[in-house]
Amino acid sequence: MRHAIAQSIGLGRAAMLAVGLLAGLWVANSGLLDQIMVYWDDIAFLSRQHMVLVAASGGAAILVGVPVGIWLSRPSAERYAETVMQVFNIGTTIPTLAVIALSMTILGIGFPPAFFGLFVASLLPIVRNTYAGLLAVPSHLKEAATGMGMTPIQILWQVELPNALYVIFSGIRTALAINVGTTPLAFLIGGGGLGELIFTGIDLMDTGMLLAGAVPTAMLAVLVDFLMGQAQLRLIPKGVNPLR
């Protein structure tokens, strides 16, 4: 089973690489590469902006989402945890574009509303997986830990979090995938990023410009997912890592 998962992940990666390679060949041969490279300076500048947005909003979502998930999973929060999760769940049914538009009405245009919209969109998977992952830690482990004389903080750090880590990581991976996929929309509210090339390219029917935005966006998405996959494989201790 574990092997099958690892294998299918390996296969998926290989297939993705092959598709990427073919696409690259096609782009290079059709002369599109030259059309794209015209925008090199824009690509460099906007990619940086794009990545700052992803890193800032994704990072903030992790920094807020994990503690909120932990807090909701504590026995003291049991009474409101389910309600809070319901609110979060309803939150995700709102399309990200609407979230971004709404945050613009409050925060105006530019970086802040883009950051905030992306942050909100990434938050839920992290909170939900942290909460669910911690609740799924078998109660007999917590009982054993308590019976051995660990304090609640020690149990959280030494038993609960390590055993929920895989699930939490999966949530972060999902959140970042959503985040990277949504970031091009930031341009619509003046947040900058590679969306500028994509949307302007669409408006001007300029394929080269469009691809100058779309290809790096796609590459960034693949890269982020690849890095998260590697991190999940390598950083999570062997004893609780179904991939190892």
């Binding site: 078998p138 007999h140 482990l141 009982e143 054993a144 830990a145 308590t146 019976g147 051995m148 004389g149 660990m150 304090t151 020690q154 030494q158 038993v159 390590p162 055993n163 880590l165 201790p237 062997k238 004893g239 609780v240």
Partner: protein, 377 residues
């Protein structure tokens, strides 16, 4: 020493109050194993968990070595009590070494001492430290995990141990092996142990004392032999089973009922001499032993009548022999299997150590039944 005084626990449930422990009074002397035994739901786990305060008592007191535990800090108290649960509860994220070192680390041992302790304990239960220290729990078999669960509780050398059906999750063969290992360790360590079980055979084997619970109350608190021989009421008699007398056979070893001075004769002895000594002692058989003192056969007084020569020429082969350490259940089983009234016993080196007979076995069982009216019997 653990003392429970009027210990009571009631749970408020949607269906009303559940009394899980009802004025429980008992005392476990230092160095003994006390088994809490009873059907599922009778309150064994609740009683146990009140001792390390995983469950707060509704009323009553718990004293460990004379000290009221409600006066102690919960965390400190638990670090001084070894705790083993049925689900074993090894932490999957930690290696075996890290699992064993949890409590030593909590109580502030230095890492070097904790690690050498982990290796020492693994050795003690027959798991090679070189192979197992770095492994994760999921890389161990059920029986191996169970052993690690027990030594993890022993790691910081707590004087008191609480064990909740610790060997419940493994197959019967491994369970017997681990029980034997544990008894051997306990003989050296002399911990004061509260041990929950629902298995009468386990209780009889492991316990110095057994407390039989029903619906939160102790029905009888006694030695295994007295519980089997003199159940206090119909509930206890029913719980220990209709074969309770047979179960008592496990509590006595062959050594305790064997006659070490039963007649024996060397192979080379003369028939006349042996006939003479049998006649004077009134015995009807003699076990024949070889030069190394191993029992090899037997002769009967009848067949020696009027005969002459060496004993070896008249010897019949022994149907079977049993080690003196064997319990009477094994002895009786051998007797039935070979349709014989007596068996020769051997010591650890296989040397002749006496004879155990069926009448001696029944007499041993009767002795405890005699109890109060032993004089009259």
């Amino acid at each position: 020493m653990i003392r429970l005084e009027d210990l009571t626990k009631t749970f408020a449930t949607p269906n009303g109050l559940v009394v899980a422990a009802d004025k429980v009074n008992m005392e476990v002397p230092t160095g003994e194993i006390c088994i809490l035994l009873g059907p599922s739901g009778c309150g064994k786990t609740t009683a146990l968990k009140m001792i390390n305060r995983l469950i707060a008592p509704t009323s009553g007191r718990i004293l460990i070595n004379g000290e009221d535990t409600s006066k102690l800090n919960d965390i400190e108290l638990r670090r001084n009590i070894g705790y083993v649960i049925q689900q074993i509860g090894l932490f999957p994220n930690m290696t075996i070494e890290e699992n064993i070192c949890v409590v030593p680390k909590l109580v502030g041992w230095d890492m070097k001492k904790a690690k050498s302790r982990a290796a020492e304990l693994l050795d003690l239960v027959g798991l090679d430290p070189r192979h197992f220290l770095r492994r994760y729990p999921k890389e161990l078999s059920g029986g191996q995990q169970q052993r690690v669960g027990v030594i993890r509780a022993l790691a910081a050398d707590p004087p008191v141990m609480l064990m909740d059906e610790p060997f419940g999750a493994i197959d019967p063969i491994n369970r017997e092996i681990i029980q034997d290992e544990f008894l051997k360790m306990q003989a050296a360590l002399k911990k004061t142990i509260m041990f929950v079980s629902h298995d009468i055979d386990e209780a009889v084997k492991m316990g110095d004392k057994i407390a039989i619970f029903r619906a939160g109350k102790i029905e009888q608190y006694d030695s295994p032999d007295r519980i089997l021989a003199h159940p206090a009421n119909a509930f206890v008699a029913d719980f220990v089973g209709a074969d309770r007398t047979l179960k008592r056979l496990r509590l006595v070893t062959a050594e305790e009922v064997a006659r070490a001075d039963a007649a024996s004769a060397a192979r080379s002895a003369s028939v006349a001499d042996v006939r003479q000594s049998l006649a004077s002692s009134g015995e009807r058989i003699a076990v024949v032993i070889d030069g190394d003192h191993h029992p090899v056969g037997f002769v009967t007084a009848d067949e020696l009548q009027g005969a002459s020569g060496r004993i070896g020429d008249f010897a019949h082969p022994l149907p079977a022999s049993v080690p003196v350490r064997a319990d009477l259940r094994a002895v009786v089983s051998e007797m039935f299997a070979h349709d014989t009234m007596w068996l020769a016993c051997t010591d650890d080196n296989g040397r002749y150590a006496g004879v155990v007979t069926q009448p001696a076995v029944t007499a041993a069982l009767r002795a405890t039944y005699g109890g109060a009216n032993a004089g009259a019997a």
